[in-house]
């Protein structure tokens, strides 16, 4: 049944229970919006937004644990319905989880990604006030724009439908355009925002054209219905391939995969660094999630085409990102290219369209959250110091001036490089095993070779920190709160590097649920 028919026949109210985290998030965002107009107390605004996110996050965490309990352990239906908590989950999350008339889906997949998006955003919010104040460009807008952008990501990961996907993507992107430019009197920031706006706008145009083509070919926006139509007709024509490829190009652009990455280094470098972290981590993860959902749910019959397309994107991103990163003198820009390379590593998993591949993609994108956010937020903390420009030169001798920051940076660099016992190793290992499991040797070899190349620039930062005399003249002062939040990220990187089982099981579960299309 189409959306309009459902509305017309008045099937009643959508299930709002499953939307509680979104509602909390939206209320927080609006409250911050109003609060910011009346209150000048910056700590209150920051604390309020973080609290809102925490409540929403804890709610999601409880629901995820409940769902996992129900599907993984041998609880019978009868036992489950006797318990009010389980019956609530059973009724809302295992049965009526498609809401808003088929435009919004709250399954385990979306909940897991939402949880980690919230975690990443909380870390960004912790760092944004000290950074913006030190740089003299504090605006209350940071908070609600980030929250609205996060809301856009929620819609994205929860979209079962090209239209809601499009709405979410735009909400996320437009908030990001403004956020990148929120740097007073800094032209690089405006330049980055402008470039991202123009190129992102082009990307939007491409995606809309793709949606139009797909609708014209299949007569529906719904992922599952697209899949059914395609399987039923079983023909491949220009409209379908054109629509699919354009959609992938649009998504690749948002994920900054080569050759559609041009905006990323400029936007990353120009943006205020915590915003860069937000741009490089949560927004990317939401994009990887929707990429995974679209290709698996809407185009299961075309695995060969999109698998190959992503293999090409991934290979180009890994080679290009890593080679250009070698040549950067600014660590921030280097990390921007490293983020392009990571898009390559992560999407490479799609070249192996198997449960293992999807699990590897989800796993790597989730763990990338901790190491990516850690690296960028550490840069933000260091950048607060007068005269620090994030150049490789500045990092020389950091271990002597500030051993804690240097150690944290070392952990994040090792994890991005993929050295055990950091979690980055398992991210790469999962993708590698998925690739060789599907016999995509050439891509696996590229992954390994480019990872080795990447040692050149990650280890250079480490070597500069530990093997030189300090060259940065100013004082280095990273506040305790920032050290604590970065320390938490580093510890997570290490703990997951030693015991990744829980996250791995979780991603394996969501990948198998996604493939089975449970309940849809």
């Amino acid at each position: 049944m189409s959306v309009i028919e459902q509305l017309v026949s008045g099937l009643g109210l959508p299930n709002f229970n499953v939307l509680i985290p979104e509602i909390i998030l939206l209320l927080t965002a609006f409250a911050v919006f109003i609060l910011e107009m009346f209150s000048k107390n910056r700590r209150v605004i920051s604390a309020f937004s973080i609290t809102g996110l925490l409540i929403s996050g804890i709610y999601i965490l409880v629901i995820i644990l409940g769902i996992l309990k129900l599907i993984l352990s041998p609880i019978t239906l009868r036992e489950a319905s006797a318990n009010p908590f389980y019956s609530y989950i059973l009724n809302n999350y295992l049965e009526n989880f498609v809401t808003l008339y088929g435009l919004y889906v709250v399954d385990l997949f979306s909940l897991v990604f939402k949880l980690f998006l919230i975690i990443g955003t909380i870390f960004v919010l912790i760092h944004i006030r000290p950074y913006a104040e030190a740089k003299g460009s504090y605006y209350g807008e940071y908070y609600y724009l980030i929250l609205f952008s996060l809301f856009g990501m929620f819609i994205m990961v929860s979209s079962p439908n090209l239209i809601s996907f499009y709405v979410g993507l735009e909400l996320m992107s437009i908030s990001l355009y403004v956020l990148i430019g929120l740097y007073r009197k800094d032209y690089r920031s405006k330049e980055g925002a402008y470039k991202y706006l123009i190129i992102g706008g082009t990307g939007t145009a491409i995606v809309s054209y793709a949606i139009a083509l797909l609708y014209g070919r299949t007569g529906t926006f719904d992922f599952r219905e697209i899949a059914q139509t395609l399987i039923a007709s079983n023909t491949v024509d220009v409209g379908l391939i054109g629509g699919l490829i354009l959609l992938l190009v649009g998504l690749a652009l948002k994920a900054s995969a080569v050759p559609f990455h041009q905006w990323a280094p400029d936007a990353y470098e120009g943006a205020p660094t915590p915003v860069t972290a937000f741009l490089a981590v949560p927004s990317k993860i939401a994009t990887y999630a929707i990429i995974l959902r679209v290709v698996v749910e809407a185009f299961p019959s075309l695995t060969e085409s999109w698998g190959f397309a992503w293999a090409l994107f991934a290979a180009a991103s890994m080679i290009f990102g890593n080679l250009v990163a070698l040549r950067q003198k600014s660590v921030k820009r280097m990390l921007a290219y490293s983020s392009i390379a990571h898009t390559g590593y992560i999407t490479a998993a799609l070249a192996a369209p198997t449960g293992m591949g999807f699990a590897a993609l989800a796993f790597y994108s989730i763990v990338y959250l901790f190491m990516g956010a850690g690296a960028f937020l550490l840069l933000a903390s260091l950048e607060k110091n007068e005269g620090w420009n994030n150049t490789l030169e500045d990092f020389k001798g950091l271990a002597k001036k500030d051993p804690v920051s240097a150690l944290l940076m070392l952990i994040f660099m090792f994890s991005l490089l993929g050295i055990p016992p950091t979690v980055g190793f398992f991210g790469k290992l999962g993708v590698f095993l998925a690739l060789i499991g599907y016999n995509v040797w050439w891509l696996a070899v590229i992954l390994v070779v480019t990872s080795i190349i990447s040692a050149g620039y990650y280890l250079r930062v480490v070597a500069n920190m530990y093997m030189y005399e300090p060259s940065f003249k100013g004082k280095i002062n990273v506040s305790l709160v920032e050290k604590l939040s970065l320390g938490v990220l580093a510890v997570i990187v290490l703990i997951l590097g030693i015991y990744p089982t829980q996250i791995w099981t979780l991603t394996t579960t969501i990948s198998s649920l996604l493939m089975a299309g449970v309940g849809r």
Binding site: I245, L253, P259, R327, Y499
Partner: protein, 647 residues
């Protein structure tokens, strides 16, 4: 056997406690005490486990918890407790305990005292994960972990530039080996679909000869890096920049022996390929001989012992390559004891002499430090292979067996034994006897080390003295792990393959301890070996004690050979030429290629130029955004045409 889980986790807990509270609460003596307690608990449990397994000779595979499910295979953290792992675990924990106690004295007054013991405990945890693993992933985890700990400890005095450089060198060289090892692990997984040793062993008949050869050689590549065998040996002598207890523990007794242990652990894999066994044999023999020649002419007290470590590890690999896995492991155990002893005695000397390393500037130390001198002498006699010290019972059987298998190998191992005896006694005579060359300022302060340093020396010396007599016990003890006819976990087909693989050593018969002593003192072969060792000592005596032969004259007469040895066979020079210069060339090339792209904005279109001026309008006019869009359009066209017209 449930209690075995205590063994690896007790040092881990010590590490966590010291890491969290080391600087704030525990500080100097307490962090060391906690580390000693942590490792002593593992030592007690592992010795008890050793005792239990020696009674039954069985094997226990405890799965502690699942680590990561991979399709049908689940990687788990587990403990495989059989004679082989029990022996290795005991060596690691017991030797560590004494080295830890020694370190509480050695590191006294160091501002980073807690950090040192935190790293050491972390090292022991990682090492135990390695020795106790029942699968290659856990082994690799420990393998990388000990590499990391070693990196941290070599560069422990990071304010010394040479220490940081040595740490980085060790790290980089080990990466080469580790990449090979990782490829070997992956090839194993692709071939067998499992990574548990026991399952791999039983699936060996399914794999082809060349697959097995490739797996064994790749894994051996990792061992070459970790155990510093030629050609990846260059990092170990430089690793002596770390504190001496680290050199004793990591770079002599345990971590560097991990390669030897790994080869023995997966012995059936190596035994199934003749090429792999031969490679192990030749690499080991070459290292044993070449490293011994390098040790002849060094003047740094720790480096001499480091070259002897390289050389002795070569003997262990040679034993494994000859098919004498049990002898290789026994030599590992006895080497761990006497080499730790030698290093700790050297450390005791260093403390007394305020870290003076040059043996040419020492002399007559025996007068001032009798305990250190005597224990060092015992260690040196053991290393030289003089009966009744442990080295005689562990090294000479390898040399004699080599004669019966391959006399070329025997020539190298036999002459290597003479060189070994020479260089270690050169060190002994120069440092502890001979003329009085000490700086008078230093001499005033030289004194024997405190008891927490001398007691470990005495205990280890006692070990070096008596361990050899237990040779028969160890040989029988290891049989259920390394003798195919008694390995209960092998299937019948695998057993046949392994027995065929080890055929080369079938006709070798090494008698029991008593008969071995008699045999060595009566048969020509045994006397040859003994005289070689004694001859080495005698020449050292003539040259450095009596000064009958002038070393300088010898050096000048055989100048080319002297230079070859002194420059370590030019390995470092060659590597420098290839890698440093090659890297320079490559980076120049990349720089040119990269900059051409970057500046022209063909691929990258970096906004660097415009950014430095940062003018918004100018930016729009440079056409960069339109260049970006043009690139995007090209990209879309390429992709669309690729899929529309080619598929």
């Amino acid at each position: 056997m449930e209690y075995l889980w205590v063994i690896p986790f007790s040092p881990l807990i010590a590490f966590i406690i010291i890491g969290l509270f080391g600087y704030k609460l525990l500080r100097e003596p307490l962090s060391g005490v906690i580390a000693v307690i942590g490792v002593a608990i593992s030592a007690v449990f592992s010795v008890y486990g050793f005792y239990e397994v020696s009674k039954t000779g069985g094997y226990y595979d405890l799965k502690l918890f699942t680590w990561m499910p991979l399709g049908n295979y689940e990687i788990s953290v587990s403990i495989l407790w059989d004679p082989l792992s029990a022996l290795m675990t005991c060596v690691v924990t017991v030797v560590s305990t004494f080295i830890f106690i020694f370190a509480t004295g050695y590191m006294k007054g160091d501002p980073s005292y807690p950090r040192f013991f935190a790293y050491l405990s972390l090292f022991v945890f990682m090492m135990l994960m390695l020795t106790l693993a029942d699968n290659l992933v856990q082994l690799f985890f420990g393998w990388e972990g000990v590499g990391l700990a070693s990196y941290l400890l070599i560069g422990f005095w990071h304010y010394k530039k040479s220490a940081s450089v040595a740490a980085l060198e060790a790290f980089v060289v080990n990466r080469v080996g580790d990449w090979l090892f990782l490829l070997g692990v992956l090839l194993t997984f692709v071939t067998f679909g499992t990574l548990d040793y026991l399952d791999i062993f039983n699936k060996i008949p399914e794999a082809g000869f060349w697959t097995m050869t490739a797996i064994a050689l790749l894994l051996f590549g990792g061992a070459v890096g970790k155990s510093a065998q030629i050609p990846l040996h260059i990092w170990l002598p430089n690793a002596m920049e770390g504190p001496t207890p680290v050199s004793a523990l990591i770079h002599a007794a345990t971590m560097v022996a991990a390669g030897v242990y790994m080869v023995a652990r997966i012995m059936p894999v190596f035994a199934s390929s003749e090429i792999a066994l031969d490679t192990v044999l030749y690499v080991g023999t070459m290292s044993a001989f070449i490293a011994a020649t390098m040790g002849l002419v060094q003047n740094d007290i720790k480096r001499i012992i480091a070259y002897s470590t390289l050389s002795q590890l070569g003997y262990m690999f040679a034993a494994e390559g000859l098919g004498l896995f049990k002898d290789g492991m026994f030599h590992l155990a006895s080497h761990a004891v006497f080499k730790a002893l030698l290093f700790l005695a050297a450390g005791s000397v260093l403390v007394a002499l305020h870290h003076l390393l040059d043996v040419q500037k020492m002399g007559q130390l025996r007068k001032y430090m009798p305990i250190t001198a005597i224990t060092f002498l015992i260690g040196a006699l053991a290393l030289a292979g003089i009966p009744p010290f442990s080295g005689f019972f562990s090294k000479d059987p390898i040399i004699e067996a080599a004669y019966e298998i391959n006399w070329v190998i025997w020539v190298f191992l036999w002459s290597g034994a003479g060189l070994t005896a020479f260089y270690i006694f050169r060190l002994y005579f120069l440092a502890f006897e001979n003329g009085d060359r000490l700086d008078p300022h230093l001499k005033a302060h030289v004194h024997e080390s405190p008891p927490n340093m001398t007691i470990p020396l005495i205990v280890l010396a006692a070990g070096a003295l008596i361990l050899g007599f237990f040779r028969d016990f160890f040989m029988n003890f290891l049989r259920p792990s390394l003798d195919p006819s008694q390995m209960k976990f092998l299937s019948e087909e695998t057993r046949i393959i392994v027995e065929n693989g080890l055929e080369r050593s079938h006709h070798v018969h090494i008698p029991d301890v008593l008969h071995f002593v008699i045999h060595s003192l009566t048969s020509p072969l045994g006397l040859l070996a003994l005289f070689m060792a004694l001859g080495g000592i005698f020449v050292a005596y003539l040259m450095y004690q009596r000064r009958v032969i002038d070393p300088v004259w010898v050096g000048n007469t055989f100048k080319p050979i002297y230079l070859l040895f002194y420059n370590r066979w030019y390995f470092d020079h060659i590597y420098y030429a290839i890698f440093a210069y090659g890297y320079y060339k490559l980076s120049r090339f990349m720089w040119k290629a990269g900059d051409k792209f970057v500046i022209d904005g063909v691929v990258n279109g970096s906004g660097k130029v415009s950014m430095s001026f940062g003018d918004f309008m100018r930016l729009a006019q440079t056409g960069r955004i339109s260049a970006y869009l043009a690139q995007m359009a090209v990209g879309i066209l390429v992709f669309l045409s690729l899929f529309l017209f080619l598929s």
